[in-house]
Amino acid sequence: MSIRIVANTMLTRRRALAGIAGMAAGAGFPVLAAPAPGAVPVDALRTKRLIVLSLVGGNDGLNTVVPVADPLYRKLRPTVGLPERKVLPLDAMLALHPALTSTMQMFQRGELAIVQDVGYPRPDLSHFVSAAIWESADPQRGLSAESGWWGEVVMQNRAAFDAAAFDAAAVTFESSGAFAAGRGVPLMRARQDVSALLAAPQAASIDARALTGEESRALGDMVAARTDAQARFARRLKHVQPPHWRPYEEAIDVQIQLTDWFLTNGVTTPLIRMTLGGFDTHSELLARHGALMAVLDRTLEDLRRRLCAAGLWDDTVVLVHSEFGRRPAENGHGGTDHGTAGPVWLLGGRVQGGIHGPRASLENLDAAGNPVFCTDFRRVYATVATGLFGLSVNPFADRGHAPLPVRLV
């Protein structure tokens, strides 16, 4: 058994900085005031950003962050378990899927925080319902929820968001944007064909306030908000070089390129949401999941590279999650079926890297053979609200989901 125990790679920038600052002060040089480790700057909402990358279909977490030293892993996955010699060790127990080489480098730099076994009580194994639960942060209402988790954050911190005067409260490329649903939350949906963003928005023909009927007025407000958001984007982007598209673009590459285009041209938005599909691996797990891990790795590497080039990596957190994990026991077709908890990743220049949160037992599974979650997903949102953006109202903490002890700044 040869598991390389990766030395504590927590030689964080913060300690290095502290060292340098100390040295500099001692030597009488002027000290550039680095922010105290972990203290959220006062202007965090304006300077920080969150990129949410949703893996659609239910990513097999157990073959992503692999408990390779747990004998039950091998027992439950005799054919789809990953060979020990191939995985990339994180610590004595865990390892990463072999394709995640760039991700591994980020972990070694201390830029990747892995929160283990994140889920919610009474798990729903339907894609639509579980995805709706993650988007709304409402396990009770799921598909019937009327606001999204980010929508809640914006609505409850109205003054801060108004003062920040973003071009959009969030940007999305695919999906209905349910995560941002809420009154007065301007969401921008962007497609590869950017003409809709750059075109002059269709003018309103009447003043919405003059309309009778609550519904017409509400619609009028939405039209006005959309028009304003479009105008703001058009102002930033109309006269700059448009994105250069290759003959065939994968959907994820479209999203990355548009994100890059927006950020490097000064579009202001605190949240960008991307999706990567194809994770519903009921069969041929090894081959299909392997290909997906390679795409995920390449995606994160690409994002990191571009954000570093733009000088934004230290002020960005990438949140990677999926609507559920998959069943520990393999099924009859070389795949795995819908499960419950799975890992959440937080990556960024200032993220406190490492493994966080307890690991679910593979022995005490629930009645459907799935792990019982250890960390509620709403704590991740709470961590973002307080620990990244420093917002005064944290709707998730208010409901009893405290932020995680993972520094993001």
Binding site: V56, S126, V129, A132, G142, L143, S144, E146, T172, F173, E174, S175, S176, G177, A178, A180, A181, G182, V185, P186, L187, R189, R191, Q192, D193, Q202, A203, A204, S205, I206, A208, L211, G213, E214, E215, S216, A218, L219, G220, M222, V223, A225, R226, W245, P247, Y248, E249, E250, A251, I252, V254, Q255, T275, G277, H282, N331, G332, H333, D337, A367
Partner: protein, 657 residues
């Protein structure tokens, strides 16, 4: 002349007794806006010919005509094809968590994860899609859209969710019960629903037994279907659950309603203030005796058809009509539709169209011949209303919950996609029985033409471009499925006995476009693409691994007719082709044999609609289409009528009714 007609129309309702010819009451002939309002509130959209048909009538006459029309059974769509294949292989065999109740009622259990169960799951999905297409087509082509609108309402009230029932035939049967009773009598509908197999499975009553009681149906029946929270106690829920015990489903047989005599609890129970409730019939009677039962229903109807703000006095008045009328629905509907509140200007444009109403309304209003009704099923799913899959037992979203900045954008994208395909369906209407037809769909990124050609015996006979390709390349999750288009080559001029047909996909370097070929048809015989040979152009990276017909590279689908007929032994491809490995692909093998165009004769316009704008001649356009003033400016200057209509369709106000 005018006075004569006025007198003959003088059927005064009580409310109008004091106000003769001037006010908004029944003696007035309908204005175009009134007619549009009545039609779009009770049906799906309002086509010009439907509006014109109501114009000479008074409000009373118009409402009576709509109500009488409820009895016109739609003759049109043949039932979903899968019904022709009876089966009792339904999914609870796949190991639902019904233990130990399942054992008690003999529910067969199999292991999860075998290839057979996967095939079963996918077959169910295909059958449900057929069911959706059938119902949507009925909504589009019915002479009585009000019947289908009421069915949609009731289905959102007495909810069942396919995902938890997993029996397509059960969902069909339940819908048929709703359609039969939902326009007639609420008591009969309730009676049918508590014995409906889909309902009994969905809410676990099929496994509600004396030893393993299950309260799910009892609770939802009281809370969501009949009385509402606060009008019953927990003891009532328990009593009702005991009364419902034994009302189950014949799992071992045909999955029909079955009473397990041994599980019945016919002891005298205390329920809603009565002491002698023994049977399910007793319980139904006691529920319907509660004044709240009628109020609950009337309130829901009011919010769904009149205004989102329910006036309690109006609701009480309507509830009384329902209750004293033995829960007959026609007098109740008549009272509601003739009430001043229904016609009041402050209540116009206050209701929001659900996705199905929006899309079916669009198709009906403009007489669009859908080349593929399945597109509507897909689109309504994308917009959040997947028929037969309500988000919960509480039913669908209501009112403004359907609209937010994101959904507004998606709705208008779907409307645009259907509108831009309006010409594709006309082609299908022109098809002759023997013509050479090629059914295909296409996707692209950017304004590149998607080009295809057809050769017969090596000779080019047609070159065309896809009329409405989906902008789905690079759009990932947000894209809808491309709609089917049809290329028609008249039989005349083709060889008498052709040997080969080639469908050619051409694409230039750097162009992002894909073509999906479904089938070809000649002399009335349809050949699915999986019987063809696919040859990609030299140097193209596409391989034979991709399902046949999905042309991600330029190339040819080569149909060798003689060889195919020989291989098929002269028999035509099967009705239900359950190739589950294709269920996620754009090709629908299971629709190969379905009728090409569903009953064009029943379409409202009858003949081909050459120019949609022509239909609107004489009707004031904005008022005829929108319930409120447009929110967006109409295009300036001299504009083509179609463009003007398009700008109205894309106006957010089009979402209201």
């Amino acid at each position: 002349m005018y006075i004569l007609t006025c007198i003959t129309r003088l059927r005064l309702s009580a409310a109008c007794a004091a106000t003769l010819a001037f006010s908004s009451c029944a003696v007035q002939a309908l204005s175009a806006d009134d007619a549009r309002h009545l039609l779009s509130r009770t049906g799906f959209g309002a086509a010009p010919h439907e509006i014109r048909a109501l114009l000479p009538l008074t409000r009373e006459q118009a409402v009576d005509r709509l109500l009488t029309g409820l009895d016109q059974a739609p003759t049109l769509a043949p039932p979903p094809a899968f019904l022709a294949e009876p089966t009792n292989e339904y999914l609870p065999r796949l190991g639902r968590d019904y233990l130990p109740a399942a054992m008690a009622v003999g529910l067969p259990m199999l292991n999860l994860g075998s290839a057979e169960e996967t095939a079963l799951t996918h077959r169910g999905m295909q059958e449900m899609e057929q069911l959706r297409v059938w119902w949507l087509d009925t909504m589009i082509s019915s002479p009585s859209p009000m019947a289908e609108r009421l069915a949609l309402f009731w289905q959102g009230h007495f909810t069942s969710k396919y995902f938890d029932v997993l029996g397509p035939r059960l969902m069909y049967d339940q819908l048929q019960q709703i359609r039969a009773h939902g326009t007639r009598n609420y008591a009969d509908l309730l009676h049918a629903m508590v014995r409906d197999p889909a309902m009994l499975v969905f809410l676990d009553n099929a496994v509600n037994t004396r030893h393993t009681p299950n309260e799910n149906l009892a609770r939802e029946l009281l809370e969501l279907f009949t009385l509402g929270t606060g009008h019953y106690s927990e003891f009532d829920v328990k009593a009702l659950a005991r009364t419902l015990s034994g009302h189950s489903v014949d799992f071992g047989g045909d999955w029909r309603y079955l009473v397990r005599e041994g599980e019945l609890d016919t002891t005298a129970k205390h329920f809603l203030g009565r002491d002698d409730v023994r049977t399910l019939e007793d319980a139904e009677r006691v529920i319907l005796e509660q004044p709240q039962a009628a109020v609950f229903v009337a309130d829901k109807f009011y919010r769904e058809f009149v205004s989102p703000d329910a006036d309690p006095r109006e609701v009480a008045r309507l509830a009384a009509v329902l209750r004293t009328g033995g829960y007959e629905l026609r007098p109740f509907l008549r009272e509601m539709l003739l009430s001043p509140a229904f016609w009041a200007s402050e209540n116009r444009g206050r209701l929001v169209k659900s996705p199905v109403e929006l899309l079916v309304g669009l198709v009906r209003t403009f007489g669009i011949a859908m080349p593929d009704v399945g597109m509507l099923a897909e689109d309504s799913r994308l917009l959040g209303e997947d028929l037969f899959e309500p988000p919960s037992v509480a039913g669908w979203k209501r009112g403004m919950a359907w609209l937010n900045p994101q959904s507004l954008g998606m709705r208008s994208e779907r409307v645009t996609a259907i509108w831009s395909c309006r010409d594709a369906g006309r082609e299908a209407l022109r098809a002759g029985a023997d013509d050479l037809l090629v059914r295909f769909s296409a996707e692209r990124a950017g304004p590149v033409p998607v080009r295809l050609g057809v050769r017969v015996d090596g000779v080019p006979v047609a070159a065309a471009q896809a009329r409405c390709p989906a902008e789905s390349i690079g759009a990932g999750q947000a894209a809808g499925k491309p709609g089917w288009d049809l290329l028609r080559i008249p039989r005349k001029g083709l060889p008498a006995k052709p040997h080969t047909i080639d469908v050619v996909f051409e694409r230039g370097a750097g162009e992002q476009a894909n073509l999906f070929i479904n089938w070809v048809q000649l002399d009335g015989k349809r050949i699915p693409v999986y019987l063809s040979d696919i040859r990609f152009d030299a140097g193209q990276p596409c391989s034979a691994q991709v399902p046949k017909g999905m042309m991600y590279c330029p190339g040819v689908a080569h149909f060798d007719i003689a060889a195919i007929e020989a291989a098929q032994h002269g028999m035509e491809p099967t009705l239900l082709d359950r190739r589950y490995e294709h269920v996620n692909s754009i090709i629908e093998f299971a629709t190969t044999r379905l009728p090409l165009v569903l009953r064009p004769a029943a379409r409202p316009s009858g003949e081909l609609a050459r120019d949609i704008a022509e239909q609107w001649q004489g009707l004031p356009l904005p008022q005829a289409v929108l319930p409120v003033a447009p929110l967006l400016a109409a295009p300036a200057g001299a504009v083509e009528p179609d463009a003007r209509l398009e700008s109205l369709l894309l106006d957010p106000a089009f979402n209201l009714k």
